[in-house]
């Protein structure tokens, strides 16, 4: 076992940049939660007294909690095929995943709205083929929001997951088969755990990213799909209330930290990490 080695210094550039260009300015701004307009905890008291803030916070968490598993589930087969298909197929899949990414999020959100409309392509298709009578409400509700978020966040799960899957030694699965494990069992007990680092990374990225969204809910979601980032924005932009904005951000940070810790502890990296 090696002692702390020179490789530690590799983290210095990133951490220094982060400290100077992020931690200091943002820390100062967040500290306004305790100092604006006067020193004290009144901003947090406000959040406690006015239920609307915590309700929107809960709403945001629930939305993230829905988006994350859906994205992971859809990402899994794609990453799997990428990792275990032919090199050519892998290229095409990488292409498939990255190319939409290059198209602006705003424009894609509008395009998704166009597809999901009452008189849009999907509904026209379903009605035209007689599968439904009335158009389905696919937009300006949770469905629309889900479609938008998943579309944008799929690559964030696919790549870490692919990365993990590509490194899995096929020897493990062969060994499992040799030892008599049925395919499903081998998959669940051997393969899946080996993909966990990538899976947890992807899931965490999706969860955290969704928490901060406001453009997609504004364009594709409905009245019930309100998210906290919009409120934080309102506080700064409309009211100049850095104190409440800072307080909301700190609460968001705390909850996010707790969720991520929970995710890592339950699904955990403990068996993979040293």
């Amino acid at each position: 076992m090696r002692a702390v080695d020179g490789r530690v210094w590799l983290i210095l550039p990133a951490v220094s940049l982060l400290a100077v260009a992020f931690l200091v300015p943002v820390g100062w701004l967040l500290s306004r939660a305790f100092t604006f307009p006067e020193p004290g905890l009144q901003n947090f008291a406000l959040l406690w007294e006015r239920p609307v803030y915590m309700r929107v916070m809960m709403n945001t968490l629930v939305i993230s909690a829905i988006v994350t598993p859906v994205t992971v589930l859809l990402a899994f087969p794609v990453a799997h095929l990428m990792a275990h298909g032919s090199a050519r197929l892998r290229r095409w899949l990488i292409f498939l995943v990255l190319v939409p990414f290059w198209t602006s999020l705003l424009v894609r959100a509008f395009a998704t709205a166009i597809l999901l409309q009452r008189h849009g392509v999907i509904n026209s298709f379903l009605i035209g083929f007689g599968l439904i009578e009335e158009p389905l409400p696919l937009l300006y509700n949770m469905t629309g929001l889900l479609a938008g978020c998943v579309q944008v966040l799929l690559p964030f799960v696919i790549f870490p997951l692919y990365s993990s899957m590509a490194r899995i030694d096929p020897g493990y699965m062969r060994a499992a088969a040799t030892l008599g494990a049925p395919p499903v069992r081998a998959f669940l007990r051997v393969y899946l755990p080996l993909t966990l680092p990538g899976l947890v990374t992807g899931a965490t990225l999706v969860f955290i990213s969704t928490l901060g969204y406001y453009i997609i809910p504004a364009l594709l979601g409905g009245a019930r799909q309100q998210m906290i980032a919009q409120l934080i924005q309102d506080q700064i932009a409309a009211f100049g209330n850095w104190g409440v904005a800072g307080a909301l951000s700190l609460v968001l940070l705390a909850i996010t930290g707790a969720m991520v810790a929970l995710l890592h502890v339950t699904v955990g990296l403990k068996e993979i990490a040293r």
């Binding site: 609307v52 166009i114 364009l219 009245a223 924005q233 100049g240």
Partner: protein, 349 residues
Amino acid sequence: MSMTTRRTVLAGATAAAALPLGARAQGAMDLKGTTVVFASWGGAYQDAEKVSYCEPFAKATGATVVQDGPMNVAKFRAMASSGTPDWDVVDITGGFLEVAAKDGLLEKIDPKLVTLSRIEPRFVHEYGVGCIVWSYNLGYSTTAFANGAPTTWADLFDLKKFPGKRTVLDQPVASLEVALLADGVAPDKLYPLDVDRAFKKLDQIKGQTVFWTTNSQSQQLFVDREVVAGIILNGRVYDAAQKGAKIALSWEQNIQAVDYLVVPKGSKNRAAAMRLIDTMTVAENQAKVANLIAYSPTNIEAYKTIEPKLEPWLCTTPENTRKGFIMSQLYWRDHLKDLTERWTAWKLA
């Protein structure tokens, strides 16, 4: 406080408007070497302002005007509270004007440099000069209502007679007023708003409502036939109709709002900024803006040079002024915060 009083055009205004642009300047071309930064909302609107206000100003004074933006309230706040703003003249909404003035973010308008008499008194503020007037109107789809269109706000809430989805701006501002007007409250009895009554009325259409946040969204919803009626800005309806969309509006009970030109506190080019604002007050320049993008002038003399085809679309014609009223900026200055919270909670319920 009441914003429904109307003032007739002052005889003096006519005389003042006849003054040439450079009359109040100390002499033409005396600002050579000065750069004034003009910030607005971008797109065709800012292009129109550039052509109508900034270019004549630059030509007459020799100053250089740089366009910046898009206007962003948070950015404006950060800039103005720092004491060294990057922007010298900014186009802001009336709602923000009151808040910004209260928070000490603006320079007082200098009446020695800006010809305030050209502008309708109701559009003149201690800290800003109104440049355009726009309104929240009842917009509706002409295909959905080929026989018998909705005309009043009450019609917006009548789901039986005018069935279909609605669109409402995702903010309490104007939406609450609309609800109260629909419930029978007269414009001069609106403020202070009976908020409970407004939300109760809004509950009637909440299930059928799609909320819009950007202007483009409001247009898109009609074009896509997602909604058949709603609260929409007059300029957006004009724009959409020009492009062939099947949409029209009603001027009944139109709720007017004003955009102002202001100078952020601490601007290094205060005097030059004021003179740029003065250029904006000239009737011909205001007419240019109206002709380009159908926003209403604050200098009534401008109507002399505005193309007649635009008049049905403008808020400050005598007819449309009579049918509508200006929203209370002061009320919203004091209640925006609380009512925004309540709006958020109401949407979630």
